[in-house]
């Protein structure tokens, strides 16, 4: 069995790089992040439905924005964080970092999917088409493909360490490409549509709308952390099933 030398960090945080410690820490944190997500969601939805006014141009349907924008933003944010931790795992050969990156991927992919779906449901009543190939939606679709590629590559490799590292390289390549992809899609869109307005541009936002959206974004963030923590616990158990600490936890 391989022991890892862990470089000491301040406040003794380095001990959480060890699987059993991280498992217990994650278990303690999940209820906090879950509750925070729920409370923020309740508050955000209240603001969004009962405080934010009716939009001048779009009426009530704009309220989809309170879940559409948080989902879209989270999908991008999670990808960046995922690539960061995958990179750390590659650079310092730490297993925990790579496992954390893997834990985040499905939630990020789900966020991208929800952004696309809610965007389509918003687009139909607001601009007449479920899908309009505009820059932001198309980029989000490609982001979803990048997530799926990450998960597919990881799933196709049997050896967990090779899988972690291969997916890590892919994530880093993806994160470098993402701005290039976004700008090229934007260019593609403007040149093909001429002077048409960006279809998913939010309506000119009243302050209350922005507040509601911000609260919902925080809620989605807390939720994503909670699910990632839960998933990393599953991953830890799955990978460490032969170790004594995991077996002690499963029994007790």
């Amino acid at each position: 069995m391989q022991t890892q030398t862990i470089r000491p960090l301040r406040f003794g945080l380095h001990r959480f790089a060890a699987p059993p410690e991280f498992y217990r820490l994650a278990g303690r944190l999940i209820p906090w992040f879950g509750s925070a997500a729920a409370v923020l969601a309740a508050f955000g939805l209240y603001l969004g439905f009962f405080v934010a006014p009716t939009d001048f141009q779009q009426g009530e349907v704009y309220r989809i924005i309170f879940i559409h924008v948080p989902a879209a933003w989270m999908s991008m944010f999670i990808y960046a964080v995922m690539a960061f931790w995958a990179g750390v795992g590659l650079a310092f050969n730490t297993r925990m970092s790579s496992m954390w990156a893997c834990a985040m991927a499905p939630t990020g992919a789900l966020m991208a999917f929800l952004a696309l779906w809610t965007g389509a449901l918003w687009g139909r009543p607001a601009w007449g088409a479920y899908w309009a190939w505009d820059a932001r939606m198309t980029s989000t679709l490609i982001l979803l493909f990048l997530y799926l590629g990450f998960m597919a590559l990881h799933g196709a490799i049997d050896d967990p360490r090779r899988a972690d590292r291969a997916a890590g390289v892919l994530a880093l390549v993806g994160v470098v490409n993402l701005p290039i992809i976004y700008f090229s899609v934007q260019w593609w869109n403007t040149l093909h549509q001429g002077a048409t307005i960006s279809l998913t541009r939010a309506p000119t936002m009243a302050t209350t709308m922005l507040e509601a959206m911000f609260v919902m974004m925080l809620s989605f963030w807390m939720y994503s952390i909670a699910t990632s923590l839960a998933r990393v616990r599953a991953i830890l158990l799955e990978r460490e099933k032969r170790t004594s600490w995991a077996q002690a936890i499963a029994r007790g």
Binding site: L90, I142, F145, L146, L148, G149, A152, L153, A156, I157, R162, R165, A166, V169, L170, L172, V173, G174, V176, N177, I180, I181, F183, S184, V185, W187, W188, L191
Partner: protein, 222 residues
């Protein structure tokens, strides 16, 4: 250093020439895929002229991905790749040499073939020339990015389809810029912006991809 690079290129070209069938197949794939579109869409000249840039470019993407199978897999299968990696030769150099050879047997023939295809789609001289130029500038980038995918999926079952999933999203900027340059040319505008971006993408990939490919090879070959 240049000599080492040329040696790698020469070796790969020799190996490819011994299996000329593989090389020819990729080119045939390119032509057949392009031919499918008029069959599916109808022979109206104006429609075809409109879709030509996109069709040729998508076919080029798919052909590039198809050809990646022989980039590293053959050397990996018989242990040569491991030897090369252990030999102490800088991996980036070897990688660049292999990709240069790969481009010579895939990207270059595709670029040449596109001259014929431009005529098939009844493109005017300007857009046709832009198409050829865009492929010339863009296919190196396709080989470089594709090599990352090939290196990551070495020896995996289902590697062929998996590589496609991984690499196509990364190809999107090249596709967009290539097709856009030709369309601008067809519309009377200068294709220079698109072509310059393509050149920049290929140069950037030449600078950065070898790192990623080396890392991926080290991961896959252990």
């Amino acid at each position: 250093m240049i000599q080492a690079l040329l040696a790698v290129v020469r070796r790969d070209l020799l190996l490819a020439m011994r299996q000329r069938g593989d090389v020819f197949n990729v080119l045939m794939f390119f032509v057949i895929v392009v031919t499918m579109f008029p069959l599916g869409v109808g022979p109206d000249k104006d429609t075809l002229r409109l879709i030509a840039p996109g069709v040729v470019w998508v076919a080029a993407l798919l052909s590039a991905i198809l050809s990646l199978g022989r980039l590293f897999a053959l050397d990996y299968a018989d242990g040569t790749l491991e030897q090369i990696m252990l030999s102490g030769q800088p991996l980036s150099l070897t990688v660049l040499g292999k990709i240069a050879a790969h481009w010579l047997i895939t990207g270059a023939p595709i670029t040449v073939m596109s001259v014929v295809l431009a005529m098939v789609f009844d493109m005017a001289v300007g857009p046709g020339a832009t198409l050829v130029a865009s492929l010339l500038l863009g296919t190196p980038c396709l080989s470089l990015i594709g090599a990352v995918g090939a290196a990551l999926t070495l020896g995996l079952r289902g590697a062929g389809v998996l590589v496609t999933l991984l690499v196509l999203p990364l190809y999107v900027p090249v596709l967009i810029c290539g097709a856009l340059a030709v369309e601008r040319s067809a519309g009377g505008l200068s294709p220079a912006p698109g072509l310059m971006v393509l050149a920049a993408l290929s140069l950037g990939a030449t600078a950065l991809a070898p790192w990623a490919i080396g890392a991926a090879l080290r991961v896959s070959v252990e």
